[in-house]
Symmetry: C2
Subunit: 129 residues, 2 copies
DNA sequence: CAGCAACTGACAACCGTTGTCAAAACCAGG
DNA sequence: CCTGGTTTTGACAACGGTTGTCAGTTGCTG
């Protein structure tokens, strides 16, 4: 059904880069970074791997205000949220059991099922202030 | 500095429509609806008014998963969140003082300032289930 | 009522993203 | 090792939502 993906130079490069950088990066930023490192990878290919990783749940996806998608390798595969610096993109993983409980409760009160939620916190980190 | 906007047929039509429909609508949907009603307004103009209204805080903006922006006139100008049906787009305004407190506390713990957050809840409403 | 500034809308440009397809790279099985 | 087929790659074109352009129109103020 789903054949195991091959381990190619490009796949490794993208995965590696995502492990090294911190903060959320757009596909185009990742593409540019790879180019600078000499490990040049086609933009199309970057998009493909980044999406595959997102589908596999190995990276988290966020949307900037302008709709651009940004990606980040996450420490825990479990559900969590992010505190993101709007200046440098650095981010911290946060958890909020209270929020989880609250959302599902409110949703149930209104008769909603199959509930999901998105929660992201933006601010300016100490270094950028 | 900011000259008061003029009240034109188009401006009124967009604002009116947003008051009548419930749920989040994309600029293109609004454009189509206006066209059907006969009160045809250029797509560019719809975008402009919808953004102006968003800037003025009179409508809320959300991003669908594919990055498309959707708009909704909100009852209260105060900060609040939404419980949105992913099938029909119907939405309910919700408030969560606990969430507000929690986010600002967590942000402060990590040295972040100028904190904002986005929180949206998606589910399937009773009618669509 | 005149005149100017703001508004409109068809159109083109933009930008992130996705589809296409021939060429290259990976990985068996001989 | 080769070799065959299958997957992956990447330049390029296409796409869709959004924004810029600019001449023509329309509110509004004097």
């Amino acid at each position: 059904m789903s054949p195991a993906p091959r381990t190619t130079r490009q796949r490794t490069a993208v995965a590696d880069l995502l492990s090294r950088v911190d903060g959320f990066r757009s596909a185009q930023e990742l593409h540019e970074l790879l180019r600078r490192e000499g490990a040049s990878v086609g933009l199309t290919t970057v998009y493909r791997h980044v999406q595959a990783l997102a589908d596999a749940g190995e990276v988290d996806v966020l949307r900037h205000e302008d709709g651009e998608a940004v990606y980040r390798r996450c420490a825990s595969p479990a559900h969590h949220h992010h505190l993101v610096c709007r200046a440098c993109g650095r981010s911290v993983e946060i958890e909020g059991p209270a929020v989880e409980r609250w959302t599902s409760q409110v949703a149930a009160e209104h008769g909603f099922t199959d509930v999901q939620h998105t929660l992201e916190v933006f601010g300016t980190c100490a270094d950028c202030a």
